[in-house]
Symmetry: C2
């Protein structure tokens, strides 16, 4: 176990160096890079489908999609006429998260001199992605109300490292036993004052609020 | 990357040896050990809450709960008067899955001479748990209809290694854009003929069918 942790530390050190390179590149090109993290099926791709057309009207947007397998999500993004690169981690040992090196490699296939926004949709996982810095500007967590109120305290690291939480699928609330006050209490127990935006792709709730937040953080 | 994979192989080899010890112990004691795996919030603990009281009327049941943090799930199981041990992986480097050694250690705190059934609720994660043999008799996957139809092809390993899939929260189907035929097609693309049971803790659908399946596989 000790040996395993030592190796993990080496991997993280190497990752942090490349993440630093990515961060410098984003700053130089004035690109706002947003790392979207959640468990599987919380609705990350659907969030992107809601916001990208509106965002792209004002400034150029690119996307990096991370999945173990399939190009399904990249196809959904490409259908919006947004440049997108798919990373499949099954070619990287089936990894449960994206690493800075994979991002650096993907950037070569994006029009970096034109982009203002870059969204990175991480692998659906509430654990591993939070451990790996990609060099991103902003970290946004996504939690669906169908997942239950206890996730922030059961997977605290992710909720600690994010700058914003989108609480998705709120249109389902009338059909769920879900206590909104309790999830907020759990969120703020691990990350005091974290901004939480209620989001629904069905009703459109939260779309404009998320866009305003992004603009306000773009610097 | 090569070094990382070599170390992972060593970790997996060591895990497999201990999993073999667990498997021999379960066989010797005539215990059916069931490893429950899913993404976060698919409803594993709720499934246990539905079946344990019925199962325990016929034969003694024990539970091992795996989480990064909190004893919330163990408390829900203990409320059913079922012996339960909580493993918190934040003491094991924040691991995204359970390993055979943690199970072996937990067994020391369970009444192994009395049990007929042992349920292991793995860490909520569609990636890592599928890679680690615990010595279990049966592997059951849990997927909620709120997670979308694409999960089986995006996280194929888990769906390949399970013996049964519980499709949970089917009471939400009227409120979702969820194509039941498409999820079954995706399940069977990665695991031909995998048995899928529709399950709802709200309506009780699937509870008896799951119990019958368990009895039929108990040997």
């Amino acid at each position: 176990m000790v040996q395993q942790i030592k190796v993990l530390e080496k991997v993280l050190d190497a990752n942090d160096k490349i993440a630093g390179d990515n961060r410098r590149l984003f700053a130089e090109k004035k690109i706002v890079a947003v790392n979207l993290m959640s468990g599987p099926g919380a609705g990350k791709t659907t969030v992107l489908e809601q916001i990208l057309p509106k965002l792209a009207r004002k400034a150029p947007v690119g996307v990096i999609e991370g999945d173990i397998a399939t190009t399904a999500d990249a196809e959904r993004i490409a259908a919006l006429d947004v440049p997108v690169v798919q990373i499949n981690t099954d070619k990287l040992g089936g990894s449960c998260h994206l690493e800075a090196l994979a991002i650096q490699t993907a950037l070569a296939d994006l029009p970096m001199d034109k982009l203002r926004w870059l969204f990175v949709e991480n692998v659906g996982n509430l654990v591993c992605p939070a451990e790996f810095d990609l060099g991103e500007t902003l970290r946004v967590g996504v939690l669906s109300v169908a997942e239950g109120e206890d996730k922030p305290i059961k997977y605290p690291l992710l909720f600690r490292v994010i700058d914003l939480l989108l609480l998705t699928k709120v249109d389902l609330l009338p059909h769920l036993r879900f206590d909104l006050d309790r999830v907020l209490k759990n969120v703020h127990a691990v990350h005091a004052d974290l901004r939480v935006i209620r989001f629904s792709s069905v009703t459109g709730e939260g779309v404009d609020e998320f866009l305003s937040w992004l603009e306000s953080r773009a610097g």
